[in-house]
């Protein structure tokens, strides 16, 4: 038997690590922004919650229904945004998410797109809410 690493030609070690030990799982009490992306038809649903203070994302959490890549991208995304300003966070592209995971297989790149989308929506939500305030 070869090692698992050889076998998992599908995913990088980093993806598998995040998939197995996802960071920041769960809902957030009174988040400042929520982003929903995906839908049941495509089989991936992401919910991203952010807490913002002084224009800086101080906390992020997620809930995801989806494949291994969807869970791993959600997990790493929450790590990537923490500590970033809203402006910085808005610049996080799906490619950056994929790269942070040491790459995704081509057929899974849509998961990183979903993550980018969820983040954009969460920020939008935050901005809309803060305007209203």
């Amino acid at each position: 038997m070869k090692s698992r690493k050889d076998l998992w030609s599908l995913y990088s070690e980093k993806v598998m690590e995040h998939f197995q030990n996802p960071r920041n799982v769960g809902e957030m009490q009174s988040p400042d922004g929520i982003g929903h992306a995906g839908n049941p038809v495509c089989g991936d649903i992401m919910e991203l919650y952010i807490k913002v203070k002084d224009d800086i994302i101080i906390d992020a959490k997620f809930k995801t229904f989806g494949c291994g890549a969807a869970i791993a991208t959600s997990s790493i995304l929450t790590e990537m945004v923490k500590g970033k300003t809203i402006e910085e966070a808005m610049k996080i592209s799906n490619k950056a998410v994929a790269e942070a995971l040491d790459g995704l297989p081509p057929i899974k790149m849509h998961c990183s797109v979903l993550a980018e989308e969820a983040l954009g929506l969460a920020i939008e939500d935050y901005l809309a809410k803060s305007k209203r305030k």
């Binding site: 049941p40 495509c42 089989g43 809930k63 229904f65 291994g68």
Partner: protein, 389 residues
């Protein structure tokens, strides 16, 4: 780590006796069966012996068996072959919404080339209603193709009734029996079928070999054109070791099928009831009793299939899902959707298919691990609102 294979419907290990039977035909008996010299005649003898074994398993005559490279090829051959042979009579084909892609895609190909195809619906358990078949028949209908048992949900279709309807109307009837031959008794005369697709690797034979049973007198155009092999019905140098292994697998299946069926059914039912007992919000897909002896297909609400598979694999359990992330667009299984499942449930399916090496201990292990995994994933799932239900 312990490794438990519960994906026998996808493929099976080659039986050691099958491999043993194949070995001489790679190196010593390597001749081309089409050759006149003794190297060739020796190989020819071997494939004819295998042909008899395949024929015997399904109650056919050996000259009614044409070897192919797989179940998919047998399906392509049957569908396109009859379509082209009969197109002057009509261009209408009847099949079902839950066929394997190896039947559906050739039908779609023919649709682009002027044929009309009716895809019959199924009920919530996956059963095709023979009355629907009857109603769908027109004067243009030249072929009816209904699978013997579904590969995803395990539902066994009322083939005999449907074949009778086809026979009464003089319409050619094909069944994809890739999931039943070698597992359940299949007799072409009892079922009154004209064409049957078989694949060796689904019952401990080698990959890359299959057969199409063609009832004597059935008009069919070859799929693979070229040399005169297989009495001009399928060109290309025969895969001698593969065919010999296929024959051996048929011989073994014929002997062991009966007992194995009972053994697997018991394990299957233990697994199903074990899961239903231990996990909430689970739905059994497919017919409760009229199902393959080795098939368990369940939807575990709020949890996506691939993420379950990965987690199962991490604890050594190999399974399958109807949530296909293999293509660029995520698609839920067309079979599960045909049952009327909403997309969430279709994406939440898990298929566990048992086989030769499955033991009761394996089942216990799955019953220990699966609830933990589902729990972990449900915590992560935005669809899961505990207490809401």
């Amino acid at each position: 780590m312990r490794r438990i294979y519960l994906d026998y419907a996808a493929t099976t290990p080659t039986h050691p006796l099958v491999l043993k039977a194949m070995l001489p035909w790679f190196t010593d008996g390597f001749g081309n069966p089409a050759s006149i010299h003794s190297f060739g005649q020796e190989a020819k003898g071997a494939i004819e012996e295998a042909r008899e074994k395949v024929a015997r398993l399904i109650g056919a005559k050996s000259e009614e068996i044409v070897f192919t490279s797989s179940g998919t090829e047998a399906d392509n051959f049957a569908i396109k072959g009859v379509a082209y042979a009969k197109e002057h009579k009509g261009k209408h084909i009847i099949t079902t919404a839950i066929e394997h892609h190896a039947v559906i895609e050739p039908c779609k190909f023919l649709e682009k080339r002027g044929f009309k195809v009716t895809y019959l619906p199924v009920d919530k358990d996956g059963l095709v209603d023979p009355r629907h078949v009857k109603k769908a028949i027109t004067d243009e209908t030249i072929l009816i193709s209904v699978m013997h048992a579904n590969n995803e949900i395990g539902t066994i279709e009322p083939i005999k009734e449907i074949a009778r309807i086809a026979n009464d109307r003089g319409i050619c009837f094909h069944t994809d029996a890739v999931q039943t031959v070698g597992h359940l008794p299949v007799d072409v005369d009892e079922l009154k079928v004209d064409l049957v697709s078989i694949s060796a690797h689904k019952f401990c034979g080698p990959k890359g070999v299959g057969a199409l049973y063609i009832r004597k007198g059935t008009k069919i155009v070859p799929f693979m054109h070229g040399g005169e092999q297989e009495h001009g019905r399928r060109a290309s140098t025969q895969n001698v070791p593969g065919i010999v292994g296929f024959g051996k697998a048929c011989e073994l299946a014929q002997k062991e099928m009966g007992q194995e069926k009972v053994r697997l059914q018991t394990l299957r039912d233990k697994l199903i009831s074990g899961i239903l007992d231990r996990i909430d919000d689970v739905r059994l897909n497919g017919h409760p009793t009229q199902r393959l002896p080795n098939n368990v297909n369940i939807s575990l609400e709020f949890v996506e299939g691939e993420s379950m598979l990965l987690n199962l694999d991490l604890v050594g359990i190999a399974a399958s899902t109807g949530s296909a992330c293999s293509s660029s667009v995520l698609e839920a299984s067309h079979v599960l959707l045909a049952l009327g499942l909403p997309h969430e449930l279709a994406h939440s399916s898990l298929r566990l298919t048992l086989g030769q090496e499955t033991t009761e201990k394996d089942i216990d292990y799955v019953l220990e691990k699966l609830p933990q995994i589902v729990k972990k994933l449900r915590v992560m799932s935005p669809l899961y609102k505990p207490g809401k239900k």
